[in-house]
């Protein structure tokens, strides 16, 4: 039995309000979330249904020119420029007039992520906390995604596939921890897609992954698939090999390397494969690998529910493949959120942070607010679940 109402909201309110700040990569997100005090939360295991209300959700993404990735220093500068502005906007949209009285807690991403951008955000968080006398809570970015996913989809105990630019993990909850069952052995899938997008020099707006998805949809030859290395290793997968392989193909295509018989017809010297075909093949292979390791985890823990979180979770083809697998596997279900919550945002930090806060966890000394690039999902003690 878990009691989520142990810590009372401030200001004589019948509900909690949290401000969340997220800046671990190139998205800077600020959100305000409200949890009503509800009887059933006194005992039981209801953290997936907090009846949350999202009072505001603002975000600004640092987008680099086509062919370039985002670097820590520039990203940090972007966050520093926008942070206070976004906080102000989020508070206004949420109708918060007196932050000191109206907020219970300020939640910020403690990690994992890029050091300098994370730091930019925490400086603002600390200042607000001291100005308003509102306590701070440091949140694990991955846990933020998971809890937001659970709340939005109401999935009770799914296997979670967390896929983003910086992370690729298959997670299942067990005994107060989000345990990692499978993960990437080298790069994250979002990173793989982003880097291929750079090779192709396609636009980073709205996101490189989205543009690859669109190109893949436009593939005219879906029946034949270019053969790519398939690298699942048990419960884990590796992606640097497939990236290197397809990068080389793309380069040969651009350089008109007629010697490459996979790309160019031996007799007519015409290109047999288009950029769309490459994107299609890459997605089909990568996603098949992800679905396979997810299925392995499901078999291991006997589950038939999957929750997909993280930026790459927006991809409809991935959702479609996962849904097919779940259905074939004892009529299971896939749960996914839309781009408001798949992609990094402040609301997920506020929501997860508020769960932590309600269980009595908050910063006692500012030395606890030092950000950390490496922060494993299973390091977090999940007090709010049974």
């Amino acid at each position: 039995m878990v009691n989520l109402n142990a810590v009372a909201p401030g200001g004589g309110r019948e509900y909690y309000v949290a401000l969340g700040l997220e800046g671990s990569a190139n998205k800077l997100g600020v959100g305000v979330v409200k949890h009503p005090v509800v009887g059933k939360h006194e005992g039981g295991d209801f953290s997936y249904d907090c009846e949350s209300q999202i009072l505001s959700n603002v975000r600004d993404t640092y987008i680099t020119p086509a062919g370039e990735g985002f670097l820590p220093r520039d990203t940090a500068r972007h966050h520093k420029n926008w942070c206070v502005r976004l906080i102000k906007q989020a508070l206004e949209e949420a109708g918060i007039q007196n932050a000191a009285k109206d907020l219970d807690v300020i939640c910020f991403t403690k990690g994992p992520g890029m050091g300098a951008p994370l730091h930019s955000v925490v400086v603002a968080a600390r200042t607000c906390s001291l100005l308003w006398g509102v306590p701070l809570v440091g949140v694990n970015h991955c846990v933020g995604h998971i809890e937001m996913g659970r709340e939005i989809t109401k999935a009770v105990d799914p296997v979670v596939l967390y896929v983003s630019g910086g992370n690729t993990q298959v997670i299942a909850y067990s005994e107060k921890r989000y345990r990692i069952f499978g993960e990437t052995l080298d790069i994250a899938i979002g990173n793989c897609l982003d880097r291929f997008a750079r090779t192709l020099r396609i636009s980073n707006y709205p996101s490189p992954g989205y543009n690859i998805e669109q190109l893949a949809l436009n593939c005219k030859k879906k029946d034949t698939l270019l053969e790519l290395p398939y690298t699942v290793k048990g419960m884990d997968l590796s992606m640097s090999g497939i990236l290197a392989y397809i990068d080389n193909l793309a380069k040969d295509l651009f350089r008109d390397n007629r010697k490459n018989r996979q790309l160019f017809d031996r007799d007519s010297d015409e290109a047999k494969i288009s950029v769309e075909d490459l994107c299609f093949a890459l997605q089909e292979n990568l996603f098949a690998m992800l679905v396979e390791i997810t299925e392995r985890a499901m078999a291991h823990v006997n589950s038939n529910q999957v929750l997909i979180v993280g930026g790459v979770g927006c991809n409809l083809r991935l959702q479609e493949m996962m849904q097919q697998m779940c259905q074939d596997r004892a009529n299971g279900q896939v749960h996914a959120t839309d781009e408001r919550f798949c992609i990094d945002n402040g609301v997920m930090i506020a929501h997860a942070g508020l769960l932590q806060y309600r269980m009595g966890d908050f910063v006692k000394d500012l030395s606890e607010t030092v950000v950390t690039q490496k922060f494993r999902t299973d390091e977090v003690y999940v007090a709010w679940r049974e």
Binding site: A124, L130, L366
Partner: protein
């Protein structure tokens, strides 16, 4: 090796409370290379006093620049969100 290069900054805030807040916000982060660079934060009335000591002027410049950037965020937050 002695940290021979130094810089002292005095940044005036509007009130002593603000200067104290600035100290608390800047203090927690550990220095990446403590052998090459040291920084101290003290509030003196309404003034934030920052003392930098470094092994050479390039490291000093980088360190000072970084701290000033953080101070900018603190000041902006105080202006917009108090």
């Amino acid at each position: 090796m002695a940290l021979e290069h130094s810089l002292d900054l005095q940044i005036p805030f509007e009130t002593p409370q603000q200067a104290q807040i600035a100290v608390k916000v800047l203090k927690p982060d550990p220095i990446l290379r403590p052998d090459d660079f040291e920084v101290d934060y003290v509030s003196n009335g309404s003034v934030l006093e920052v003392k930098f000591r470094s092994i050479d002027d390039r490291v000093l410049r980088v360190g000072v620049s970084s701290v000033i950037n953080s101070v900018k965020t603190v000041v902006e937050a105080m202006d917009e969100l108090s």
